[in-house]
């Protein structure tokens, strides 16, 4: 069950609509109102930007970003390679480390040492999310080889506002695997200071679908996130402090061999805590916008792995601490002689330390330092121009990066866009070329993470990695046709991304009964494919169809990179029954994929279908109910086995999800 309450003095303008895409200055659907703060989104970027709005999240009953982001063609979600119950995005075949995540335009290093977990971001605090695919724009970190995801948080300070939402889910067959969510958002002014507070908590119970095995199917987790933002207008400048605290406690139970003929039960606990503090100053200077942000991010992870429940002590406790410091300066001019110039500087360093406490008997404890305190530092400088040449908008730019361990690199990029209207048909075309460069992360170089208790494998870092370099081409066309009661939007994008030295996890020799993986550079990896989107609307019926074909191939072996389905699809039908009731059917298709570099094991294709009902009770109360995974597409229950299991199908079967939202202004 869920209860939401939103209390505010007055109603604000409608924010956004649904799944939309915008290009450059032709922003047409997303409308952020009542906020005088400088823009922190990508909408103004002269490259193809696709967005999802908070209204869309509401319609689709999404609780966190990982559920929503895969509704953008060519974007898929995978469980993090190093952490259960975490989600990371794959864009055009590249992911986790090749996708740059920003919060309000500021890069996020990580919210745990395992990478940025999209499922940590509650939808209640998100105004919209924007995605740029490929390495097209100079404005963002060169890490953005696969693309950029920018999370724009809610910042509507028109008046006091309070919103409460609660929801819960349970498997249809039994009462196992319950999920409970609560999200609270409050905004007000205290004198001249604008204050926003947000809290969310999502929980899931441990569950098991097959009692004959020791191995449990689903992890228990509690994800909490709290955000406090204070904003004050000082002269022409908007100053703010923004603190985001995230925690993620995951507990799973599984089995592993205790001898050569029997399995034993072990527990795996992961506790992650992240504090992200931003102090910023934004405002008009001369002929443009200046933005200066100081960002501190601290993460601490405790991993208790392979913990035998039969012993009173914890066998292995791994502690990882990271501290990231960033100074981000950006200046963007308004038009000067037809040119719009942007330039920026990013200074950053990351400090990491990893220790392992091992105990094999009650009185014997060993502490080893896996990664002594290490600091990696780099700085980046970018410049980009945007101007019109005939009917073309052209955005050339370059990004210079210096990394203390790997030296200098310049990544040039250029983007062309063409606009025309024929009658009531709008045409937009784009072509972009961009290069990218990414030095191996701390995690890839140094960390060792034992997943034997979760999926019977260990991932170890590789100090001999070299940086990735990429070249990305995007060619797209969008056609929009509108009539008074109907509209049609067709969208197609062809892409080719080449990454030299792509860093991916690959299996190496075994040193135990688990499979051992390490990071390695693939000489040349190419992802190419096609994304298609159709959105049709006729009166109260709206249909959306997204499909993508992506092949990601290691050119040296002509084999597919593991865990990349060739085909992805999404079909959504939304029928507005009345002003108060809407029905939604949403199906997602994930094609089969190879799960290893030898290309001899396959994760089968699957399709999930969710049936949703939204009901508005009054201006301030609404409720929703859905039958998720209606056709029960699941992987087989987890067995006690020494084989690594890689099956991308859901663990959770058919479930009933119900919630309520109270919103007042």
């Amino acid at each position: 069950m869920m209860i939401v309450s939103e209390i505010s003095a007055k109603s604000s303008s409608v924010v956004g609509g649904d799944l939309t895409s915008t290009l450059g200055q032709t922003t047409e659907v997303i409308e952020v109102t009542g906020d005088s703060t400088p823009k922190s989104g990508l909408i103004d970027a002269p490259v193809k930007v696709e967005t999802l709005s908070s209204e869309y999240f509401k319609q689709q009953q999404y609780q966190d970003l990982s559920q929503a982001i895969q509704d953008i063609p060519g974007v898929m979600i995978q469980e993090g390679s190093m952490s259960p119950a975490s989600s990371q995005a794959l864009i055009q075949g590249f992911g986790e480390n090749s996708v740059l995540v920003l919060i309000d335009g500021v890069p996020v290093a990580q919210n745990s040492s395992f990478g940025f977990d999209l499922s940590q971001m509650a939808t209640s605090n998100i105004e919209r999310v924007e995605v740029i695919k490929g390495a097209a724009s100079s404005l963002y970190g060169s890490q953005a080889m696969g693309g950029v995801i920018n999370i724009v948080t809610k910042r509507n300070f028109e008046g006091p506002r309070f919103q409460l939402e609660a929801s819960g889910a349970s498997l249809a067959e039994n009462d196992q695997a319950q999920r409970r969510n609560i999200q609270v958002l409050a905004q007000d002014r205290l004198g001249q200071v604008k204050v926003k507070a947000n809290f969310s908590q999502r929980q899931q119970d441990l569950f098991d679908r097959d009692s004959t095995s020791l191995n449990r199917d689903g992890a228990e987790f509690t994800k909490r996130q709290a955000n406090l933002r204070l904003e004050l207008l000082i002269g022409k400048f908007n100053a703010y402090i923004d603190g985001l605290h995230s925690s993620n406690d995951v507990k799973s139970e599984s089995s592993r061999p205790f001898s050569s003929n029997s399995f034993g039960l072990i527990q795996n606990r992961t506790e992650s805590e992240n504090i992200n503090l931003k102090v910023g100053l934004e405002g008009k200077v001369q002929n443009g916008d200046l933005r200066a942000i100081l960002n501190l991010e601290r993460s601490e992870d405790q991993l208790a792995l392979n913990d035998r429940l039969s012993t009173p002590f914890t066998e292995t406790l791994k502690n990882t601490e990271t501290l990231s410091r960033r100074l981000d300066l950006q200046y963007k001019t308004t038009k000067i002689s037809g040119h719009e110039l942007s330039a920026g500087l990013l200074l950053r360093d990351n400090t990491v330390e990893q220790r392992t406490l091992s105990q094999s008997s009650p009185d014997m404890t060993t502490e080893t330092q896996d990664v002594p305190k290490k600091t990696l530092s780099s700085y980046e400088f970018f410049a980009q121009d945007t101007f019109w040449w005939s009917s073309f908008e052209v955005s050339p730019g370059a990004r210079y990066q210096y990394d203390r361990d790997f030296g200098s690199y310049v990544a040039p990029k250029v983007n062309f866009a063409y606009f025309t209207d024929i009658g009531n048909t709008g045409l937009k075309s784009w072509f972009s070329v961009g290069t990218g460069y990414r030095a191996p992360s701390v995690k890839e170089r140094f960390f060792t993470l034992d997943h034997s208790s979760v999926a019977n494998y260990i991932v170890v870092g590789n100090e001999n990695l070299r940086p990735e370099e990429s070249l990305s081409f995007q060619l797209g066309q969008e056609v929009t046709w509108s009539m008074p009661e109907a509209s049609l939007n067709l969208y197609g994008n062809l892409f080719i991304n080449r990454i030299n030295g792509l860093i991916e996890i690959n299996q190496r020799e075994n040193t135990g009964s688990q499979t051992v993986f390490t990071y390695q550079n693939f000489n040349e990896v190419e992802s190419k494919g096609l994304e298609l989107g159709i959105k049709a609307k006729y009166r109260r019926l709206q249909a959306t169809l997204n499909a993508s074909y992506t092949e990601t191939i290691d050119q040296s072996t002509s084999r597919f990179i593991a865990n990349r389905p060739l085909y992805l699809g999404m079909f959504s039908l939304n029928f507005q029954v009345s002003q108060k009731v809407s029905l939604i059917s949403l199906s997602r298709y994930t094609g089969n994929s190879f799960v290893n570099s030898a290309n001899d094991q396959i994760s089968p294709a699957f399709m999930t279908t969710d049936l949703k009902l939204n009901f508005t009770i009054s201006d301030s109360i609404s409720s929703f109910i859905s039958l998720n995974n209606a056709f029960n597409a699941t992987q087989p229950p987890a067995q006690d086995t020494v084989e690594p299991v890689f099956d991308g199908r859901p663990m959770r079967g058919r479930e009933v999800f119900i919630g309520m939202r109270l919103a007042r202004f």
Partner: protein, 378 residues
């Protein structure tokens, strides 16, 4: 249509035409045959004069240090004792409660069906799982081997001293240690041979614990055990304490000051002529004594030849040159193919006989140059 649309359309068409598929790989119908080829099968039965720590050279398990698990590698051994042959495989080291030192052994006679025997042979364990490890090592009741008789399947405990006098046991176990009844461990004649080991368990030399574990939790090596192998043709290695294939205690015995031939033992001897196989035995030892001392000795050997795998021919009697026991050291290099004495550097040397006389003590030895196997009682 603008330029971009034409480009997009053209490329899209090309993409559709070149779309790939993800399909399960074809399984080679001959894969079983390929698997069999990956067994190591030391088929030559001939061995050199060298005793080895058999289980150190041919271990029955690999230790998974990360998980502290002894994974049997399902190696199949041949056991030869009293001219009887067995196949033996160690399939488990744990009972169902994951307690170590609990063996499951699969064995059979040459043509018999597999039998399973379970027994405990914990000994003292180790310092990690036995808090009284040091004291246990001194405990004669606990720190003992468990002895196995392959003919009856019986197991029992006894002291090392008792074992040294006992011929009824064949193999003995204590923790991961295994010993056999021969050489300096017991009065028996047990010999072990490494028949085969699935090479897939040791890709790139080091153990693939993943594969070992997979086998442990499925058929436990039964398919390897069932591979047929001519047990009599296996290379049974020398046990510790026995240095020569034609070991002295097998070809003669002493009575008083004289030597007597054990003519019921025979050996197969490899010579430099690889197309020929020889059976070798000591037919007789003739000695002349004077003043309670043996002055001269004559050794008469019996030889039977087999050409290119054909049946052995009639036995030839060959008298070796007279041994003058007044000399300190006599060395005779024998060319069996030609029944002649040759220079020891000669490549035709097949056996080297040496007689060392130190006072009244006489030491006789046969060393093999190319290899031999035996003794086989006739």
């Amino acid at each position: 249509m603008n330029f971009f649309s034409i480009l997009l359309g053209s490329f899209s068409l090309l993409f559709f035409l070149s779309c790939k598929e993800i399909t399960a790989p074809q399984i080679d119908s001959d894969s079983n045959e390929v698997e069999i080829l990956s067994y190591l099968s030391p088929f030559s039965p001939y061995i050199k004069d060298q005793s080895v720590d058999f289980f150190l050279k041919n271990p029955w398990y690999s230790y998974d240090q990360a998980n502290h698990i002894i994974w049997p590698n399902f190696r199949v051994y041949g056991v030869r004792t009293n001219n009887q042959f067995y196949k033996v495989q160690f399939v488990d080291y744990y009972n169902n409660q994951s307690e170590s030192g609990n063996y499951t052994v699969r064995y059979s006679t040459a043509n018999g069906s597999p039998k399973i025997v379970n027994f405990s042979a914990k000994g003292c364990g180790n310092a990690f799982n036995n808090p009284d490890y040091e004291a246990c090592l001194l405990d004669q009741e606990v720190n003992v081997y468990t002895y196995l008789n392959l003919e009856t399947g019986d197991t029992w405990n006894m002291s090392d001293f008792e074992a040294e006098q006992n011929t009824t046991w064949h193999l003995a176990f204590k923790g991961t240690q295994v010993k056999l009844n021969s050489g300096n461990k017991g009065p028996g004649d047990v010999r072990l041979a490494d028949l085969y080991l699935y090479g897939g368990f040791y890709p790139n030399v080091s153990a693939s614990f993943q594969r070992l574990a997979r086998e442990s939790f499925t058929s436990k090596g039964l398919e390897f055990f069932n591979i047929s192998f001519p047990l009599a043709r296996a290379a049974y290695t020398l046990p510790s304490g026995i240095e020569r294939v034609i070991n002295e205690d097998s070809w003669y015995e002493r009575y008083g000051i004289f030597h007597r031939a054990k003519s019921t033992n025979t050996w197969f001897v490899q010579t430099d002529d690889k197309n020929r196989e020889w059976r070798f035995r000591i037919l007789d030892i003739q000695e002349i004594s004077h003043s309670n001392q043996v002055t001269d000795s004559k050794i008469i050997v019996g030889l039977m030849a087999s050409e290119s795998g054909l049946p052995f021919g009639p036995e030839i009697s060959w008298s070796l040159p007279l041994i003058d026991n007044s000399k300190r050291l006599i060395r005779l290099c024998l060319d069996i193919d030609n029944q002649s004495i040759v220079e020891c550097q000669n490549k035709n040397t097949d056996l080297i006989f040496s007689a060392l006389n130190i006072g009244r003590r006489r030491v006789w030895r046969f060393n093999v140059s190319h290899g031999a196997y035996g003794p086989i009682p006739i």
